[in-house]
């Protein structure tokens, strides 16, 4: 068996979720090759080559790969796929975008968003927003898989020195064009990988009130999340959304504020190590999965929370 992992990066740096994917696939086979397709992405290749679990880095440079358009990446991955039994990427908006395109051309039924590897052909994946877990066996010869990165630890990132092999770019179909990316810039840690996440829901009542959450996030070095209700109400932008249709997070500490706990929100956070719920409705479903529940008006509780944190001598970062 041999595995091709498609690395996620921004042409300058490797995204850490690629390390989670590399670690996950090492449970399938040790023959792991990583494709770094991009434009002027030499640094990324060096980073990947230093990952001890990686056997070979495939570097493909082209302006056509600069923005990772699925239409352009697909023919390259198809061409390389011949030598591999498993083609794998992260189950985030990067991997979800192109992997089904690759699978369709290879006439393979993709296995999406796996959280556990039982055997090289048998995987566990959540269905119905994580309310059920399906164990599935792929009978396709070549397997296309996306992996939920937060379900696996990242691979060690230094000490290796695998060879970097250049592969030619493949002609792009020229049917799509990148225009722009509006990245949400934040000093805070990324939502997907933060150790602490504090999220606000409809109970926040306004976007302005998220300053109460932000103050605590700054204190705890936490990422700020939100429920779909808060996003739909326009309190905060969608890239903060945690849930079935947003991001899946698995922090050490998740603080849900003014969030009732709809099924689709729980899908995105219920694997968190410690869950805190602050809600004035004692019957809110969020309390049934919270390790620590505080039945209180958030507009009183949050300022008190900040005050209590200020009293602490040390706070883990």
């Amino acid at each position: 068996m041999s595995i091709l992992v498609i690395a996620e990066h921004d042409n300058l740096k490797l995204k850490t979720f690629s390390l989670n994917v590399i670690n996950a696939v090492s449970k399938i086979d040790s023959d792991i090759h990583v494709l770094v397709a991009g434009n002027k992405c030499e640094n990324v290749c060096k980073e990947v080559a230093a990952v001890p679990l990686v056997k070979k880095v495939l570097q493909s440079n082209s302006v056509n790969y600069e923005n990772f358009l699925a239409e352009n990446l697909t023919p390259l991955i198809i061409k390389l796929s011949e030598k591999y039994t498993h083609i794998i990427a992260a189950a985030n908006t990067f991997g979800k975008n192109f992997m089904p395109r690759v699978a369709a051309i290879l006439d393979t039924s993709q296995v999406s968003d796996i959280i556990k590897i039982n055997a090289p052909d048998t995987f566990v994946r959540p269905i119905y927003a994580g309310n059920a877990l399906a164990t599935v066996k792929s009978n396709d010869k070549k397997k296309c898989i996306t992996i939920r990165p937060t379900s696996f630890d990242p691979a060690p990132s230094s000490g290796g020195s695998s060879p970097i092999e250049k592969v030619d770019a493949v002609d792009a179909p020229n049917i799509s064009k990148f225009i722009k990316k509006d990245e949400t810039k934040s000093e805070r840690p990324e939502l997907g990988t933060a150790r602490v996440v504090i999220s606000g829901g409809r109970g926040m009542k306004s976007g302005e009130n998220f300053k109460l959450i932000n103050a605590i996030a700054d204190k705890l070095n936490a990422a700020v999340g939100a429920s779909r209700a808060a996003v739909d109400a326009g309190y905060i932008s969608n890239d903060h959304q945690v849930g079935q249709t947003g991001k899946v997070v698995v922090p050490d500490l998740y603080i849900a504020v003014g969030i009732s706990g709809a099924i689709q929100h729980l899908a995105g956070m219920k694997e968190s190590k410690i869950i805190v719920a602050i809600n004035k409705d004692g019957e809110a479903p969020i309390f049934s999965i919270a390790d620590y529940g505080l039945e209180a008006d958030l507009f009183e509780a949050l300022p008190q929370f900040l005050e209590e944190l200020n009293k602490l001598n040390t706070i883990q970062k």
Partner: protein, 249 residues
């Protein structure tokens, strides 16, 4: 311009899922079914394009058992012109569904295909991309805004880092995010009118495409239950527990 909208019938998003005791799947008997939520956004966007005069015809299509027709009927009630129901008696994987849709696309020749970005039952997030790939068309996945140009569409996509805007040539496939629009409700007169709109029925296994499933479902189980915790009586107690008991701050 002609638009095809693919919709799927799924367990309603408000239903608490129950896993069958024999581990073969989830309970679907006597459970409320609805249109997959982002598919409602897909229909809405298509109907809006028709109302603005940019599209001439909107066709709603579904693949599924007899009752899946209800989702097509609902699409007709909010403004689709006609429907297609591809009858299939059992679950077909996204790859099979994409092949079926391709067959219909070759006959209907739509300029744009809309569908939800993901079905909330199997959570696969594949069909739109697979169909685009099989057709050799570009795709605008997770779309939260579209702007129709002369021969292309500008699509704003919800990605992990924020928003991305791409331009894709027509014909194209758009998979819709819940933020694309606010789906309307069907009015009673429109529901009545929809009953007279035609729904063509096709049989999946007669379409001449390989729809065999490649993935074997070995078992379905409930996720490990999270133990309920405790309620604390004050913020001070909460912070103390987090610091000294859970040791997370």
């Amino acid at each position: 311009m002609k638009i095809l909208v693919a919709v799927k019938r799924v367990i309603d998003y408000n239903v608490q899922i129950r896993v069958k005791e024999d581990g073969t799947g989830v309970q679907t008997d006597n459970v409320k079914m609805s249109t997959n939520p982002p598919d409602d956004n897909a229909i809405e966007e298509a109907v809006k394009l028709k109302e603005s005069g940019k599209a001439k015809e909107v066709i709603a299509i579904t693949v599924g058992e007899e009752k899946a027709q209800e989702t097509v009927r609902k699409a007709l009630a909010v403004g689709a012109d006609r429907g297609i129901h591809v009858k299939a008696d059992s679950y077909i994987e996204p790859l099979g569904v994409a092949k079926i849709l391709k067959k219909v696309v070759e006959k209907e020749k739509p300029d744009i295909i809309f569908m939800g970005k993901q079905a909330i039952d199997d959570d696969c997030n594949q069909t739109g991309q697979m169909l685009a790939s099989l057709l050799g068309w570009p795709q605008g996945t997770f779309a939260s805004k579209i702007e129709l140009q002369d021969k292309s569409i500008h699509v704003t996509r919800e990605i992990d880092e924020g928003l991305e805007t791409i331009e894709i040539n027509l014909p194209a496939i758009i998979t819709c995010d819940l933020r694309l629009n606010e789906p309307r409700y069907a009015s009673l007169p429109n529901i009545m009118k929809a009953k007279k709109k035609p729904i063509e029925q096709l049989i999946a296994k007669d379409l001449g495409v390989d729809i065999s499933n490649r993935i074997q479902q070995l078992k379905v189980e409930e996720p490990p239950k999270r133990k309920g915790g405790i309620k604390v009586s004050s913020v001070a107690e909460l912070v103390s527990k987090l610091k000294n008991e859970a040791k997370v701050i």
